[in-house]
Symmetry: D3
Subunit: 61 residues, 6 copies
């Protein structure tokens, strides 16, 4: 651990995932003192029609 | 918040997701007093072979 | 399945959880045609200091 | 319940999922005394670029 | 990875968690060829009133 | 969205959670272009005996 699950609607480029993983792993090392090798990060990219805010699917907006 | 994650095997139509999101958001507003705009709902639709009940994959049944 | 996970900051009364579980199970039966006995609902009630929106812990607000 | 979520990067064959589901359901029956029919298992297979360990995406390694 | 999340209502003894963790880690090594050291297992023990099956909280039954 | 779930064994101080939430929300704004107000972060702090790595509970080590 830690295990971090990032869930978004839509997609991220490989480059975005790479940078986000680097930064979050660094944040958890500096602030929570978790060795980098322990941190797992899993990205879930959902279709817009699978995410609702305020009772409306995102592809409605 | 709230964050609601609905996980099913198989798929839902867009219309089903739309109605489910509306009803659950309404339920949480009426009963838990959560403003509608705060409620996130994420649907995960898994292949039947990725879900097991009683030790058997669903596509076995 | 379905498996539904409802995550909130703060707490719900037993009565609120009971009603929410009834309504969501009913919603999934009517709209998604899932037999009631199949639906699992798990509530996670997190302390306010364990939930952040917009980069601020909820107990800051 | 129990609800078990197995998340991996890469994929499993149908045969692997079948055996894993059988064994874990059996483990939970023998050790935790959970009737087999109660155990739900959901597999999530993520692309390698959606999983990071030690700040690096798995398809970097 | 893998990351395994086991969610139950009620509680497990430390001894039960220990044996379940050993067996599941072994299962994933033998069948999915995942090195033991890679497998993370997280147990969530929920109060009975936080879990519903068939629209009824478990402490109702 | 995004919804970020950070799961650790052990606990974090309120100050650590506050800083982690700020940094991750900032990371997702800069890199993924997600407006800060959209980002939900939920922290789960598990007892050491509820987390296993390599088949051993963390409080064994």
């Amino acid at each position: 651990m830690p295990y971090v699950n990032i869930r978004i609607a839509g997609s991220l480029t490989r480059e975005q995932k790479k940078k986000i993983a680097e930064e979050i792993t660094d944040t958890l090392e500096r602030i929570a003192k978790k060795p980098k090798s322990y941190t797992y990060i899993a990205f879930d990219e959902l279709p817009d029609e699978n995410w609702a805010i305020g009772g409306k699917l995102l592809d409605d907006e």
